[in-house]
């Protein structure tokens, strides 16, 4: 098969300028088109994983070319407008798969694992989440029915937001919405905030075991951004939604609601009383890190840093607070392609993410320093490359450590 689950990553200062030069052991081999054949292209092939990948990486010294939120819906963060050959070939593969009367979801998962081109991301996300059926003929009617159903909920329940037994829920949502993605102009538009309020309120009252929990508001964002992109060509972050047709906006709202619901169905015990899912996963993270990097684990113990103090947020918000939005969107490509991506694979991503900072962690020599580092990890410049490396490392960890609790313990 020429579908590579892993891509080989070149680390050089031109890390976005890449070209597919061939396949080796069924894995794609890429080459930097700028410095080739210069020796500065150090290839780190993930199919032959090194004990700790990030140790091999020197920090890319590139200009600060990616602003905080720019190009957030963009598959390619390179700033080069033209698609590389590799990107074009991947897009073709997606289009072929999506064109048939029945989409092979298994193939679509495999292909999506290493990232979905933004042109086909909306439909691919809807298919992978189970919102849309594999059968192409049925899709339109399913969409119509689900959208009607959602607006039926709105009619039925939304007026109750000021009733006594719902007003606390509504007020909490109302306070949190303006401070969801506060730096992105798109989310400061009144009509967008109203959409978020409706989605969250309806979800909360239909799920009384958890209700509205802070953090769930963040989880609507990637869906909303990706589905807005279905209707526009330009950058999304400054986009004025009032220029969309009303129907388009309603579709985006309903689709975001259903896909967020599907996601939350898989992680609901993260948000029920006392958040047992999160407590369990934070413990599992601690246990995992103690096995994969004893020195990091011991260092944190030495300075009495508890995992709950920083990793609670990693679990509650699925790393959305730790990464730029464009990286979350890329991360979710894989989470939706991976079985139990949000509920299980995320744990390995968190472990890979923590160990990614081992050098910085080991340099800190007191509790304060460690906490400030761990709550403000410098990912502002991150793009697809960094997320791909993180995901590949998480994948390796999953295989190496999943079912052998003590096998690797030194």
């Amino acid at each position: 098969s020429n579908i590579a689950l892993f891509t080989c990553v070149y680390i050089c200062s031109h890390q976005f300028a890449k070209k597919l030069i061939g396949l080796q052991h069924g894995h794609e081999i890429l080459c930097c088109i700028i410095c080739k054949p210069s020796i500065c292209c150090m290839c780190v092939c993930l199919c032959n994983p090194l004990p700790s990948l990030h140790r091999q990486r020197s920090l890319p010294h590139r200009p600060p070319l990616i602003p905080l939120v720019a190009r957030m819906a963009d598959q390619n963060t390179s700033g080069t407008p033209a698609m590389t050959e590799r990107e074009a070939s991947r897009l073709d593969k997606f289009k072929q798969l999506l064109a048939g009367p029945n989409t092979d979801l298994e193939e679509l998962r495999k292909l999506s694992w290493s990232g979905i081109p933004r042109q086909v991301r909306p439909i691919t996300w809807k298919l992978l989440s189970g919102y849309l059926p594999a059968n192409a003929e049925r899709r339109e009617s399913v969409l119509q029915r689900k959208r009607q159903e959602y607006f039926g909920f709105i009619q039925q329940y939304y007026d109750s937001r000021n009733d006594e037994h719902h007003q606390d829920t509504y007020r909490q949502i109302h306070i949190d919405i303006p401070r969801t993605n506060p730096l992105i102009p798109l989310f400061q538009q009144a009509s967008v905030q109203e959409i978020f309020e409706r989605i969250l309120f309806i979800w909360a009252i239909r799920h009384p075991a958890s209700g509205y929990v802070q953090g769930i508001n963040d989880l609507v964002t990637p869906f909303f951004v990706v589905y807005v992109f279905e209707y526009i060509e330009e950058e999304v972050e400054n986009f004025d939604v009032s220029s969309l047709q009303e129907e388009a906006l309603r579709n985006i709202e309903a689709d975001s609601f259903w896909c967020m619901s599907k996601l939350l169905d898989g992680i609901q015990d993260n948000y029920t009383f006392a958040q047992p899912g999160i407590q369990r996963k934070v413990k599992a993270l601690e246990e995992l890190v103690s096995r994969i990097d004893e020195s990091v684990h011991r260092h944190m113990q030495q300075y009495e840093v508890e995992y709950l103090q920083f990793a609670f947020r990693w679990m509650n918000n699925l790393l959305m607070r730790e990464l730029p939005l464009r990286c979350t969107i890329r991360l979710w490509d894989t989470y939706q392609a991976e079985p139990e991506g949000f509920s299980h694979f995320h744990l390995y991503v968190c472990a890979a993410f923590l160990v990614r900072w081992r050098k910085e962690i080991l340099e800190e020599r007191d509790f304060q320093g460690l906490m400030i580092l761990l709550q403000n990890l410098p990912t502002m410049h991150w793009g697809n490359e960094e997320v791909s490396v993180l995901l590949a490392e998480a994948y390796r960890l999953k295989f190496a450590f999943a079912d052998a609790p003590n096998h690797y313990k030194r």
């Binding site: 909490q172 929990v213 802070q214 006392a274 709950l308 607070r321 304060q368």
Partner: protein, 213 residues
């Protein structure tokens, strides 16, 4: 103060909690205090946020203040117990423009007192902050009522604060640290280990600068 050598410099490390309902401005108060900044755009705190303020208290005293900004949505059951552990002081914050957040103050105070105590069993010193006073509608005079509320609920005192206009934030912090230091007098951090002097509530309350906005 002991008349020790001039080279003597004491360092203290204090863990201080900032708690209260969601959206009352806990994060804003901390950012104002630590970074001298205000923004309308802080995201909701998830779990706990950590900040550090280093204070040159006087020529021979350095205070490191760990500020623990606890998420306002009370969802966590026993989790606040983990966050409260070893705290030696607390701010409980409410929003003067939303009465319901004041009603919740007693609940937060009770949660605090039931989960963390000084080594001698006394409650940790806590100060009530009436935040967003720049948005207060009428200048009603509640001083006597608030003083009484503090006395009944066990707060050392209260301050009307505005993180936005930088009103009383430093003053409230100074007041709390004074009280923590009074508990800790003569016990530098390394030696104290929670073995703190009994807090004399009456004396402290008498010195309180409450309601000075």
């Amino acid at each position: 103060m002991a008349g020790g050598s001039v080279f003597e410099c004491k360092e203290y490390l204090f863990k201080v909690l900032v708690i209260g309902e969601l959206g009352v401005g806990k994060t804003s108060i901390i950012k104002r205090y630590v970074h001298q900044l205000f923004s309308q755009h802080y995201r909701a705190t998830i779990g706990v946020d950590f900040a550090l303020k280093v204070i040159n208290w006087d020529s021979k005293t350095l205070v490191r203040l760990q500020l623990w900004d606890i998420a306002g949505q009370e969802r966590f059951g026993n989790m606040t117990r983990v966050y409260y552990k070893e705290a030696v002081g607390a701010f409980v914050v409410f929003d003067v423009t939303r009465g319901s957040t004041f009603e919740a103050v007693s609940k937060w105070k009770h949660d605090l007192d039931s989960k963390v105590k000084l080594a001698n069993g006394n409650p940790i010193p806590s100060v009530l902050l009436a935040n967003k006073c720049d948005q207060k509608k009428e200048s009603s005079n509640n001083t006597a009522l608030m003083d009484n509320f503090c006395k009944e609920t066990g707060f050392l005192g209260w301050f009307e604060t505005s993180a936005k206009d930088n009103i009383n934030v430093d003053e409230a912090a100074r007041f709390l640290v004074e009280n923590i230091l009074a508990n800790d007098k003569g016990l530098p951090y390394e030696e104290s280990n929670g073995d703190r002097i009994k807090l004399d509530q009456e004396t402290v309350a008498a010195e309180s600068k409450s309601g000075c906005c």
